[in-house]
């Protein structure tokens, strides 16, 4: 059994967290940790090693973009892939997130296969053929 991948989901909506955790449960060998907002996310990040981060933008206390900036500025986690999942669908928002260092930008409502595919791509997990 290979070493499991670890994923941090930062999302203030319990419903979206539940939906994401449900979707990510279909990725083999992936352990998911949940965080309520950016600050909680940074706390969880400091206490463990994560291979990928999925974060919302609009959150109380610390939003997703600030979280991206903080993660990219942290030498320990600066290379961790980050996926933004948000209701903000404009190109400006997308560009801003990508400029800050996000690796992917997915708009809500999410489609589970799209999220799964992006996570596998960034974690370099081989997708099933066909």
């Amino acid at each position: 059994m290979s070493v499991p991948h670890t994923c941090l989901v930062v999302e203030d909506s319990p419903m979206m967290r539940q939906l994401l955790v449900l979707a990510l449960s279909r990725v083999k060998n992936l352990r998911v940790t949940e965080a309520d907002d950016g600050v909680d996310g940074l706390r969880k990040l400091a206490g463990g090693k994560f291979d990928i981060i999925i974060t919302d933008i609009n959150m109380p206390i610390m939003d997703g973009l600030k979280l991206v900036k903080r993660v990219r500025g942290d030498p320990t986690h600066k290379d961790v892939p980050i996926i933004i999942i948000t209701t903000e669908g404009s190109n400006e928002d997308r560009q801003r997130a990508l400029q800050l260092g996000a690796n992917a930008y997915i708009t809500k409502p999410i489609q589970a296969p799209q999220v799964i595919a992006k996570v596998k791509e960034l974690l370099k997990i081989e997708a099933p053929s066909g």
Partner: protein, 291 residues
């Protein structure tokens, strides 16, 4: 019998030496002629032999060429047979490949269908879970609005509830649009000029949901009746969708069905729970009601 006359002297008349010389001369002449003819014949035979040899050589060459051609024809025929065999094999393999492609396509399509079904189930499970997670009206309203925004992609929406006494629909909560500006919609008001109000009224009176097919270009995008038992007690109105969401998909319609069937009861239950200060009914009271 007559004697021949005038032919010169008879043999017996000439001297023997002359006769011998004459005979010798004749013999020599004969021999000369004989050998000359023999030589000529020999020459002819040699020529004929040479001609025949040449002809044989030509014929042998032709024969060799024909043999080669025949061998070549055989090789070609063998190759043609081999090609035919290979063509048959190719056709069989292509047919097998097509069959396998069809099977693969069927599996791929089925896989996509199952993916879609899984997504639908996941969304419905989460929606149902969140909808019934709380009996506080505010939490119920918040969860429903979040469901509509996050799962369906609604930008602006409202929930209307029926005022039975006044026969009107009153907005009770909204998202993306100010509740204060939302109109109260009177039922059986055929004079209404507001198209959204008209659709809302029709939805509640008929109990049939209005969910836009294809690209959404007009408001409201959807209007879903809230069922409670056999009555319609209100409606969800989705005015517009997020920029990136252009049309409803199958799972959205399933979510609308779920919300339409559950939200009315959840809101009424939340109201009863709140007005009852969260007191549990007694088992006796419940048993009496269940009997």
């Amino acid at each position: 019998m007559t004697e021949k006359k005038g032919r010169g002297p008879r043999r017996s008349d000439r001297p023997a030496a002359n006769v011998a010389a004459d005979l010798k001369q004749k013999r020599d002449a004969f021999l000369h002629t004989f050998f000359r003819r023999g030589a000529e014949l020999t020459d002819e035979l040699v020529h004929e032999n040479k001609r025949l040899r040449d002809e044989i050589a030509v014929l042998e060459e032709e024969n060799a060429a024909l043999k080669t051609q025949l061998a070549s024809d055989r090789a070609i025929r063998d190759l043609l047979e081999k090609i035919e065999g290979l063509e048959r094999e190719k056709s069989r393999l292509l047919s097998t490949v097509h069959e396998h492609e069809e099977i693969t396509n069927r599996f791929t399509n089925r896989f996509a269908e199952i993916e879609q079904e899984l997504e639908s189930f996941a969304n419905l499970y989460v929606a149902s879970f969140q909808l019934h997670m709380s009996l506080r009206a505010r939490a119920v309203a918040r969860n429903v609005k979040e469901l509509l925004v996050q799962l369906i992609g609604a930008r602006s929406l409202a929930i209307y509830f029926l005022d039975e006494q006044e026969k009107r629909l009153v907005p009770i909560t909204s998202e993306g649009v100010d509740l204060a500006i939302l109109p109260v919609v009177k039922l059986h008001d055929s004079a209404t000029s507001d198209p959204v109000g008209a659709i809302l009224e029709r939805t509640v009176l008929t109990g049939i949901a209005h969910v836009t097919e294809g690209e959404i270009t007009s408001r409201p995008a959807a209007c879903v009746p809230l069922q409670l038992e056999d009555r319609v007690v209100g409606a969800i109105v989705v005015y517009s969708l997020l920029e990136q969401k252009r049309r409803f998909v199958t799972v959205d319609r399933e979510l609308f069905k779920l919300l339409g069937a559950h939200l009315g009861a959840t809101l009424v239950a939340a109201h009863l729970w709140t007005t009852g200060d969260g007191r549990l009914p007694t088992p006796d009271a419940l048993r009496a009601m269940c009997a």
